[in-house]
C-alpha cells in the first residue's frame, strides 16, 4: 500500500535531524566500558556539595536515589504517594530478565541483546540495548545481596523460567510479585539513605514545573499535596523517573495516580518527547463491567498456554457459553494462526479480539470480551493440575467478576499496560535539556516499538543502579553550579505559572467533573489511537481532543481550595496534561505510516493482516519538540550494525 502521502504534515513541522552524541563508537561490547572510562569522576570529598533532585520512587527512581545517596551526593527525592514503597513498579507480576545463563541453555549477553532489538521491532538503539543486557547480570547480584527473596531450587540456587516466548530460561521471579519484591529492595536501600541523611525524602509532593536557568535544568516547583504549599527546590541536576503514561486511555493497568505531568512540564520547557505513539496492549485483562469502571486488572499471559480463546460464530448470540455447541463456536486464533494458535504475540492476540468484538461477536457487558475457556484443559489435565498451575489467577478472576472460571469460561479483553515512548535521552540518559536526566519507563530508549516480557523491571533497575549513577557523575563533575536564589527570575516565572494554573482550575467552576473529561479522552484514544490506527481515525481524534480540551478549560468543576488535601485538583491538573499528550500521540501515530511493534496502522499490513514495517522510510526515532498546536519533528536515524533487520511471521 502506498505510504507516500503524509497527512500528518498539516499538524506539525519538521526540524533538523538529531543524533545521540554520547554513544561511543567501536565494538559494541566495549562501548559501555569506554563511556565509563571517559566519564569525568567526582572526588568523594566533593560529592556532598553536589545536589540531585529525583522525581519518582519506582524501580528507577528509588534505585538511583539510594545509589547516589550512598555515593555521597546530596539527594532530594519526591513522590506523590504517601510512601516511596507504593510506586507502581510494585504491581509488576512476571519477572526480571538477566543474561546469567544459569540454565546452560545457550543464553548470553549477546542473545539477550539480540532478542531485545528484534522484539523491539528494530526501533531501539543497539548501543543502549547491549548495555542493558550487560548490566542485567549485576542487577540480580545486587538484588540478592539486598535480600530480595527470588524463587529458588531445592539446592538453594536461583530458579529461572522462560517468559514472553523466548527459547531460553532467563527470567528470575518471586512468585507473581516480582515487581513488589524488587521495589521493596530498592525502597529499603533508599530508606537506609534517608536514615543516614544523604537523601531528603518528600512524600505527597507532586512536581508541577521544571526550572530552567541559563539553559540548564536546575530545579522543580512542587505542590505539597497536604497543605497546598507551592515549593521551590533547586539542585545541580534533575532526574525524572516518573513512569509511563498509559492513563491517557483512562482505563489501563496503571495505578490511578500514574500520570504524565512531570515529563510533560519538561517537554513544554523544551525536552523532546520521543515515540509517544508506541503503546503496549496486553491481551489477557479482565473486561470492563460497567461505566463506573476505574481501572483494569491484568492476568498473566501464561493463561494462554492452556486456555482456548473463542467467540460465538454468529454476531449477537447472547446464549450462555454452556448453551453454545462446539460447532457454533469460533476458536478464531487457532483458525487464523494454525501454527501458533492461542500463543500468538500480544499485539496479534489483542487485535484479533478487537476485530471479533467490532464484528458484534463480543461477549459479556457491552460486547467487549472474548471467552478464554479451560474446559478442555480441565478434561485433559484434571482440575487439580489446572488449579496448581493457575489457582491464584482463577481466584483473582472470581473475586473481581463473581464468576467461577472452573465452571464457565473466563472473559478477557485487551488493556493498555506499558508505554514504550517517553522523553528523548542520549546514551547518558540525559535529555536534550542540559542537566535533565530521565530514567525507567519515563524515557524512550531501550524497548523500541515493543517491550518484551520481564524487561521493564530490568530496564528500571539498570538505569537506576548502574547507568545513571555513572553518567550523571560526568555531568556533576563540572559543578557545583551557581546557587539559585529563590527570587531568581526563572524561579519566579515557574512559580507564577504553577500558581496561575492552580488558580485557573479552581476558578472555572463549570458543570462537568474531571473524571467525565478523563473518561471521554480515554474513549477517544482507545477508539482511534489504540490497537489499530488509521489516517482517517487519527485526524478525527485530533479534532475531538482539541474540542474536549477547550471544553475542559471552560467547563470543568474542581471543588475545594488549594490550601488543603484536594484530590480533585490533583486529578484535574494531570488530566489537563493528558489532553496535550493524547494530541501528540495521535500526531506521532499519523506521521508513522507503517506498522511496527505496538503501533499498527490499518494502511500498512500484509495481505494476511500482519504488521508491515517500512524500514526505508521509518527506521528513525521520532523526537518531538513542543510547538503548541504545531509540534516540530526531529528524526534520529537508527542504524543496525549487529542485528539484521527482518520481518516477523507467526503464521
Amino acid at each position: 500500500m502506498s505510504t507516500t502521502t503524509n497527512a500528518s504534515e498539516q499538524f506539525h513541522s519538521v526540524g533538523v535531524d538529531i543524533a545521540d552524541a554520547k554513544a561511543p563508537k567501536g565494538p559494541i561490547e566495549q562501548r559501555w566500558d569506554s563511556r565509563k572510562f571517559n566519564a569525568k569522576l567526582v572526588n568523594p570529598a566533593n560529592r556532598r556539595k553536589l545536589s540531585v533532585i529525583i522525581v519518582g520512587t519506582g524501580l528507577a527512581g528509588a534505585s538511583a536515589a539510594a545509589t547516589l545517596g550512598e555515593a555521597g551526593y546530596h539527594v532530594k527525592s519526591f513522590c506523590y504517594q504517601d510512601s516511596p514503597r507504593r510506586a507502581h513498579s510494585i504491581a509488576a507480576q512476571g519477572g526480571i530478565n538477566a543474561a546469567k545463563n544459569y540454565r546452560n541453555d545457550g543464553d548470553s549477553v549477546y542473545r539477550l541483546f539480540y532478542d531485545t532489538v528484534k522484539g523491539g521491532d528494530f526501533r531501539a538503539r543497539e548501543s543502549n540495548v547491549y548495555r542493558l543486557a550487560q548490566v542485567s547480570v549485576n542487577i540480580i547480584d545486587q538484588c540478592v545481596a539486598q535480600g530480595v527473596p527470588f524463587a529458588r531450587e531445592y539446592g538453594g540456587l536461583l530458579d529461572n523460567r522462560s517468559f514472553g516466548g523466548v527459547q531460553v530460561s532467563r527470567t528470575f521471579y518471586a512468585r507473581g510479585q516480582t515487581g513488589q519484591q524488587l521495589l521493596i529492595g530498592a525502597y529499603q536501600a533508599l530508606e537506609r539513605q534517608i536514615g543516614a541523611g544523604t537523601v531528603e525524602m518528600n512524600t505527597r509532593h507532586e512536581m508541577l514545573e521544571l526550572i530552567m536557568v541559563d539553559d540548564r535544568a536546575r530545579g522543580i516547583i512542587v505542590r505539597d499535596m497536604v497543605t497546598g504549599e507551592i515549593e521551590t527546590h533547586t539542585a545541580d541536576a534533575v532526574v525524572l523517573a516518573t513512569g509511563g503514561y498509559g492513563n491517557v486511555f483512562f482505563l489501563s493497568t496503571n495505578a490511578m495516580g500514574s500520570n504524565i505531568t512531570a515529563p510533560w512540564r519538561a517537554h513544554r520547557k523544551g525536552a523532546y518527547f520521543a515515540n509517544p505513539c508506541y503503546t503496549q496492549i496486553h491481551p489477557t485483562c479482565i473486561p470492563v463491567s460497567g461505566d463506573y469502571q476505574s481501572k483494569l486488572t491484568l492476568m498473566s499471559e501464561s493463561l494462554r498456554n492452556d486456555g482456548r480463546i473463542w467467540v460465538p460464530k454468529v454476531a449477537g448470540d447472547d446464549r450462555l457459553p454452556s448453551d453454545i455447541p462446539e460447532d457454533e463456536r469460533d476458536y478464531y486464533l487457532e483458525r487464523i494462526y494454525p501454527s501458533f494458535g492461542n500463543l500468538v504475540p500480544r499485539d496479534i492476540a489483542s487485535r484479533a479480539a478487537k476485530y471479533q468484538c467490532d464484528a458484534g461477536k463480543g461477549v459479556g457487558p457491552g460486547g467487549l470480551g472474548v471467552y478464554l475457556d479451560f474446559a478442555e484443559a480441565i478434561e485433559r489435565l484434571g482440575r487439580p493440575a489446572v488449579e496448581a498451575k493457575y489457582g491464584n489467577l482463577f481466584d483473582m478472576y472470581a473475586q473481581i467478576t463473581g464468576e467461577n472460571p472452573y465452571e464457565q469460561p473466563m472473559r478477557i479483553y485487551p488493556a493498555v499496560h506499558y508505554t514504550m515512548g517517553g522523553l528523548w535521552v542520549d546514551y547518558d540518559l540525559q535529555s536534550n535539556l542540559t542537566g535533565l536526566f530521565v530514567a525507567g519507563e519515563a524515557n524512550f530508549s531501550e524497548h523500541g516499538a515493543n517491550r518484551l516480557g520481564a524487561s521493564a523491571l530490568m530496564q528500571g533497575l539498570a538505569d537506576g543502579y548502574f547507568v545513571l549513577p555513572n553518567t550523571i557523575a560526568d555531568y556533576l563533575a563540572s559543578g557545583p553550579y551557581e546557587k539559585i536564589a529563590d527570587d531568581h527570575p526563572a524561579v519566579l516565572e515557574a512559580r507564577a505559572a504553577v500558581e496561575e494554573r492552580v488558580h485557573k482550575l479552581l476558578s472555572i467552576n463549570g458543570t462537568r467533573t474531571v473524571d467525565s473529561f478523563h473518561k471521554e479522552l480515554g474513549q477517544i484514544m482507545w477508539e482511534y489511537c489504540g490497537m489499530e490506527r488509521s489516517e482517517e481515525g487519527l485526524i478525527k481524534a485530533i479534532g475531538m481532543i482539541r474540542e474536549l480540551k477547550a471544553e475542559f478549560w471552560s467547563n470543568v468543576k474542581v471543588t475545594g481550595v488549594n490550601e488543603e488535601l484536594n484530590q480533585t485538583l490533583e486529578r484535574a491538573n494531570r488530566v489537563g496534561d493528558f489532553f496535550e499528550l493524547g494530541e501528540l500521540m495521535c500526531i506521532d501515530a499519523l506521521n508513522r505510516r507503517e506498522s511496527c511493534g505496538g503501533h499498527f496502522r490499518a494502511e500498512s499490513q500484509t495481505e494476511d493482516g500482519e504488521a508491515l514495517r517500512h524500514d526505508d522510510e521509518f527506521a528513525y526515532v521520532s523526537a518531538w519538540e513542543f510547538g503548541g498546536d504545531t509540534p516540530v519533528l526531529h528524526k534520529e536515524p537508527l542504524e543496525y550494525e549487529y542485528v539484521e533487520m527482518k520481518a516477523r511471521s507467526y503464521k
Binding site: 545509589t67 510512601s83 507502581h88 544459569y102 529458588r152 463506573y292 476505574s294 481501572k295 471543588t559
Partner: protein
Amino acid sequence: MNITLRVWRQKNADDKGKMVTYGLEDVSTDMSFLEMLDVLNEQLTLSGDEPIAFDHDCREGICGSCGVVINGLAHGPQVSTTCQLHMRSFEDGAVIDVEPWRAGAFPVVKDLVVDRGSFDRIIQAGGFISAPTGSAPEANNLPVPKKDADHAFESAACIGCGACVAACPNGSGMLFTAAKITHLGLLPQGQPERDSRVIGMVEQHDHEGFGGCTNIGECTAACPKGIPLDTISRLNRDLLGALAKGKA
C-alpha cells in the same frame, strides 16, 4: 442495590471530625468498594459538596495505599485489601460505616486519609540489608535453602497497608515490624545486622507511639497478605537474644 453510607468526614488534622450519612442508589454488585466511593464522589462534586478523600493507587491489592475500616473491620468483611472488596459482599439496603485507620501512630490527614510515615521510619531504623550498589557478590555464590527462601518471601509479602495496626486493640505495629525482621533474619545476607536491626526497629516502633503487642492476634486475622502471628514470636526471640548480647 441501594445502600446508606455513614462516612467519617474530617477537614484536616486539627478538625474534630464527624460521621456524615449519604444515601446511594443503583449500586452495581460488580463495583469495587472504591468504585462505589468514586460514584458517590462524582455525585457530591456535581452537587457542589466536597468529595470524600481516601488513599488508593494500584487498585489491584499490592501497593498498600488503600485501607479503611468498614463496619468496624479493617478492609471490611473479607480478608483482602479494600480495593479488592466488591459490593456483592453487601446486602441491598445495607448501612455501611466507613472510617479511617484509628491509631495514635497514624494521625488523620483528611477524611479517610491517614499519615503512615511512621512505618517508613521503622524501616529507616534497620529494616534493610546494607549492600551498597556494586558491592554485591555473584548471586549464586550464596545458596539459600528453598524452605528459608519461601518462608522469607511469605513475610516479605507485607504491603505496609497498616490494617494490622488498625485492627489491634493496642494500636500496635508489631506484625509489620516482625514481618521485616523475619524476612531479613531468615536469609544469610541478613545475619550481620540481625541484632542491630531488631533493636533499632523495635525502639523506633515504640518511639512512634505504637502500642505494645499482647498476642491478641487481630492483626494477622485482618492482614490481607496473611502474615502469620509467629513472626512476632520470632521478633521477640531475636530481640531478647540481641539485648542479652548487648549486656554481655
